[in-house]
């Protein structure tokens, strides 16, 4: 079994119009039957557009949102049972890095206090009396080194740091509990381009140095392609394609994946187009209302290859060999 293994995850939120008593009449199925796994030391990229449910999925995996259906196994144990009996160990095994580093740190605590607090809590748990103050500052210093921050950030407050520095603090905070899996939810999207490259290098480096497994959630295909071993593409609550990174990018099977790849603007393609003069294949329209999903394949309303069957039956992930699977009737 993989380090993290989730089967048949479902989560719906009340949504839409309200009845007389203010109760929501409809529900939005944010995660609608998802299997996903992350192996030991593996980087799994989860890509999708806003509202596809990728962040909800990440939070279910961490146990931060309770799922309606399905199971999450971490290190071979059901996380619900894990959380009841051994919550500290679950929390220290799996950590998250958030999109917005400003809002994920306490503005009233200095960087040093935030990081020392993590050490204090984790060493209390380990109950080793040796974990004194010296040990705490030694561990905090080591974490700063690891994320490439100078010691002089310790007395400073979040508002005094740049976005890139704050994201490094967020990563240091996660590393201090020595996790085996990091769930990084859009860790780059609030950062400038040149800073994105720094944080991406940092995350890739941690995987090398610590053998840290990662679920990297992002809307940016270039970022996902650069660091992931395996990629899953999510659309309106479901994974529509999954496979090894190279295969998925060189031979995307699902029309949505192909459209995503074609839509991602790429300066190199523009340079080459002078000779090719190829017209970009683009996708029609916008996603349907997530509350009233159409019958059949949920991509059918925008799909250039739509067949009669697509409006009737929803395809499951179909095997294309080599771990590459696509939820599309074209494959059947």
């Amino acid at each position: 079994m993989s380090l993290l293994e989730a089967i048949g995850l479902r989560k719906a939120f009340p949504a839409g119009r309200t009845d007389l008593l203010g109760r929501r009449k409809d529900s939005l199925r944010a995660v609608d039957g998802v299997d996903i796994s992350v192996g030991e030391g593996e980087v799994h990229g989860l890509v999708g557009e806003s509202g596809c449910g990728k962040s909800t999925l990440g939070r279910i995996l961490l146990g931060l949102i309770k799922n309606d259906g399905g199971c999450v196994y971490f290190m071979g144990r059901d996380i619900e049972e894990f959380a009841r009996e051994d919550e500290d160990r679950l929390r220290s095994g799996m950590q998250i890095v958030f999109q917005n580093p400003y809002s994920s740190l306490n503005p009233r605590l200095s960087v040093g206090s935030t990081l020392r607090e993590v050490v204090r809590v984790t060493s209390r748990r380990n109950a080793s009396a040796s974990a004194g103050r010296d040990d705490a500052s030694r561990r905090v210093d080591a974490a700063l080194d690891e994320v490439g921050l100078p010691r002089d950030v310790l007395p400073r407050y979040p508002r005094e740091l740049s976005g890139g520095q704050l994201q490094r603090v967020g990563i240091a905070r996660a590393l201090l509990v020595r996790p085996r899996l990091l769930i990084a939810d859009e860790p780059l999207s609030s950062l400038d381009l040149s800073v994105q490259a720094q944080i991406l290098n940092l995350l890739a480096g941690l995987r090398e140095s610590r053998g840290l497994a990662m679920l990297l959630i992002s809307h940016d295909l270039r970022v996902i392609e650069h660091v992931s071993d395996r990629v899953s593409v999510m659309y309106l609550g479901r994974i529509v394609e999954t496979g090894p990174t190279d295969e998925l990018f060189s031979g995307a099977l699902h029309p949505y994946t192909r459209a995503l790849i074609a839509s991602a603007s790429d300066p190199r393609r523009a340079l080459n187009r002078k000779t090719e003069s190829a017209v970009l294949p683009t996708m029609m329209g916008e996603p349907p209302d997530a509350i009233n999903l159409p019958r059949g394949c949920r991509f059918a309303t925008r799909c250039p290859y739509r067949m009669p069957r697509c409006a009737q039956e929803e395809p499951d992930l179909l095997d294309a060999g080599g771990g590459h699977r696509s939820a599309c009737w074209l494959l059947a």
Binding site: E49, S50, S162, D192, L193, S194, Q196, A197, Q198, L200, N201, A204, G205, H219, L221, R222, V223, E225, H226, V227, T245, D246, A259, L260, S263, A264, S265, D266, P267, R268, R269, A270, L271, R273, K274, L280, T282, M283, G285, E286
Partner: protein, 333 residues
Amino acid sequence: MSELLKIEGLEVSFDDPAHRGEGGVARAVRGIDLVLGSNESLALVGESGSGKTAAVKAIMRLHDPTKTRVSGRIALEGRELSAMSEREMEGIRGRLVSMVFQDPMTSLNPVLRVGDQVAEAVSLSRGLNRRSARAVALELFAKAGIPSPEALFRRYPHEFSGGMLQRAMILIALAASPKLLIADEPTTALDVTVQVQILELIERQRRELGTALILVTHDMGVVAERTERAAVMYAGRIVESGRTLELLAKPLHPYSEGLLDALPRPGTRGEKLKTIDGFAPSVFEEAPGCPFAPRCRYVQRPCLAEIPALTEAATGRRVACHRARELDLRGIA
């Protein structure tokens, strides 16, 4: 190609009492020269804080005069904008130059139907009565790829998706067939599959109306695919400009090279990306030398002494770097 817009020595600074200790004046734009021909498309590229938005807002004269100082010359079709009264400016905005912003939700009136807002722009610009303006606006809705235009025409902004709102904003901005459209990160808030559609809409409308475009963006892919010329901004100045594809294939400024190097390349999975280390200089200060020098991997002594001027390096190529002639920088070709 005739000259549509000419900017000379544009400076924009904001009073910022919160930073009184550092002088209290944020110098966002520090001397920009720019020429744009009619029908031409120009990308203004740079990271946050580089002064792109402050510069283009000055063209529309949208800065609050009580808190902002704008100096320099901005001429549109040979008419100096800074000399105009606010009343004259109202005749320019929308008619000669229009702007589309990043967040369409905050640019539309939330209590008016979207269709009526488009119709109002049409009626003002073409002098049509309400009924004819509505008919024209409805046609525009359909042309802009808004599905079931008649139903959506009667909806309010909060009932629109971001992509649909941005389409409506573009229709409003182009209702009077302006000579220049300024689009400030028009697709940054949108999903990539919708981004493409919005950029296509701008492109199509622009060609049809013969409108010039200034596209403010940080996305190199968008720059490459949508603009003829590009200007790279750093710390309030243009550090390099030229034909877009030439600039991307062979940048002349180390900062441009750094930006392009920071993009993941195909076939380099897992490799370390090159980064630009350090930070952009504070908007409150001015160092004596090249503003990029502290982060530049090619820095030499003269770079720290004098700010390099933006000078012609080749036909249509301008660069502000003391070492531009000797450096052989890497593009993305």
